[in-house]
C-alpha cells in the first residue's frame, strides 16, 4: 500500500533533502506533502490523509513538540507515526518528544541511511487509518 508522508521544517533546504531521501528509501510513497511550521502541518493534515510525519522541532509559529502534542491529542491522528528530525540533541527535548509519543528521533546532520534505518518498519507496523 502506498503511503502519504508529511515533511515539516521551516528550512526549504531540509524539506528538499528529505524529499530526495524519502524517494531513495524504496518505500512505497504516493505523495510527499510539505509544511513550514506546526500550524501549517495541522492544516495539511486536515486537508489530506497522512500516514507518516517527519518534523523538525525548532520552528516559528508552532514548534515540533507543540505540533506532536496536537497530533497525539487527536483521536483521528494519534496513530500517525511522527519522527522528529532536529538539531536538538539535549535530553530534555528528546525526553519530551518520547513522552509525547514520537515514533523516532534523528539528529541533524543526518545521512540518508540513518533516515532509511529509522523509517524501516515504521510504515509497515503503522495501524491502518
Amino acid at each position: 500500500m502506498e503511503s502519504d508522508v508529511l515533511v515539516v521544517d521551516d528550512s526549504a533546504a531540509i524539506r528538499k533533502i528529505l524529499q530526495r531521501v524519502l524517494r531513495q528509501t524504496g518505500m512505497a510513497i504516493r505523495t510527499i506533502h510539505e509544511a513550514g511550521d506546526g500550524q501549517e502541518a495541522l492544516e495539511v493534515m486536515n486537508a489530506h490523509k497522512v500516514d507518516l510525519v517527519l518534523t523538525d522541532i525548532n520552528m516559528p509559529k508552532m514548534d515540533g513538540l507543540q505540533f506532536l502534542a496536537s497530533v497525539k491529542a487527536s483521536a483521528h491522528w494519534r496513530q500517525v507515526p511522527v519522527v522528529m528530525i532536529t538539531t536538538e540533541g539535549g535530553e530534555t527535548k528528546v525526553g519530551e518528544a518520547v513522552k509525547l509519543g514520537a515514533a523516532g528521533y534523528v539528529r541533524k546532520p543526518f545521512t540518508a541511511d540513518q533516515i532509511k534505518e529509522k523509517l524501516a518498519g515504521i510504515l509497515e507496523s503503522a495501524v491502518p487509518l
Binding site: D10, S11, A12, A13, N58, T87, E88, G90
Partner: protein
Amino acid sequence: MNLQPILVESLSQATAQVFSTMLGVEVVRGEVTAEDGKQEANDGVVSFIGLAGEWAGTGSVSCSPVLACRICATMLMCEAPAVNEEVLDAVAELTNMIIGSVKTDMETHLGPLGLSIPTVVFGRNFKTKSAGSSEWIVVKFHWEDETLQVRICLAPSGRSPHVMLHSGGTQACALDV
C-alpha cells in the same frame, strides 16, 4: 572554566561533521583566533543564531557569495548560479546544524541552552556589532580556494552579546528563514 578549547574543539567537530554528512565534503580547519566585538565591514553572506540560557550568546557562519552558492548547490544537488532565497536558506540551515551541535555539546558544561531560529544576511559593506563585551572565537575552514568562518560567543547571561546590523552598503537585506 576556560571554555575556549572546548568551544574550538566542538566547533571544529561540528563543522567537519555537517560538511561531511550533508555535503559529502571534507573541509580543512585553518586559523583559530579570538576577536573582540568591534565593528568590521563584511561582504557576502552572514548567518546568525542565538543561544540562551544561564549562558547566552550568538553563533555565526560567514562566507563569500561564491561559497554560499557552492554550499547550496552541493547540499541540494541543484544549480545555484547566484545568491537567492534557496542559497540563504541552505546557509541558514548549515548554521543551525553546526551551532545546534555545539549547543548540545556545551549543555553538558553549561546547562540547558535554547536555540533561536537563524537569521541570514547578504550584502556588501555592512557591519555587525556585538552589544556585549565578550570575546568571539573564530575558526576558519577551507574548502578548496574558499574560506568559511564559524564564530561563537558565549558568556554568562547578562553580559552576553546581541548582534546588531548596520548597513553601509547598497544591497543588504535580512531574512528570517
